[in-house]
Amino acid sequence: GAGVSQSPSNKVTEKGKDVELRCDPISGHTALYWYRQSLGQGLEFLIYFQGNSAPDKSGLPSDRFSAERTGGSVSTLTIQRTQQEDSAVYLCASSLTPQGFYEQYFGPGTRLTVT
């Protein structure tokens, strides 16, 4: 079946512009995660959605970052007034439920470059 998809694959934007990154999780997966991978670093948690519950936003680095998940499926990560330090690969993952027993399936990521 189809895996997690993300778009765009690559995004180059000018400093100060807003960007939207999209994630399509695996159908039926209730848990959705966004992570950020900066050059030479591991993955850093950003935000987590579970069903209809309020999202866990504890990993968002600033109020310029926001995300929503519509209808319990597609998610959009928005970065306002982008800065050069926002340049990174943004990875989305989904799992059947949030328990660790269930594997998180990752998308191919969006590489964001802020010039």
Binding site: Y33, Y35, G40, Q41, G42, L43, E44, F45, Y48, Q50, D56, G59, V89, L91, A93, P98, Q99, G100, F101, E103, Q104, F106, P108, G109, R111
Partner: protein, 115 residues
């Protein structure tokens, strides 16, 4: 808060040889899961192997096995009969079993398999 440490930024191994990647973690949780993920140049994160903390037996998946030492909070990955396709970044990750928590990643080890 949980932390994951991978002390080997880069490693190399000859094809067909065996290599061990190190990972230590810190947590006050008693029940949790540990993971090794592989990230080839395509950026796609792939689950290699998973270990439940309550299981004493070390997990194995074909050529991949782990040495899980709960008291020492150590979780190393052994790759036997290394293949060129094993060349990738390898990330160790932790997830508490309390649910509704994201994965916590180490910074990764870049493994190169040499012909």
């Amino acid at each position: 808060a949980q932390t994951v440490t991978q002390s080997q930024p880069e490693m190399s191994v000859q094809e067909a040889e065996t290599v061990t990647l190190s990972c230590t973690y810190d947590t006050s949780e008693n029940n949790y899961y540990l993971f090794w993920y592989k990230q080839p140049p395509s950026r796609q994160m792939i689950l290699v192997i998973r270990q439940e903390a309550y299981k004493q037996q070390n997990a194995t998946e074909n050529r991949f096995s782990v040495n899980f030492q709960k008291a020492a909070k150590s979780f190393s990955l052994k790759i036997s009969d290394s293949q060129l396709g094993d060349t990738a970044m390898y990330f160790c990750a932790f997830m508490a079993d309390s649910g509704n928590t994201p994965l916590v990643f180490g910074k990764g080890t870049r493994l190169s398999v040499i012909a």
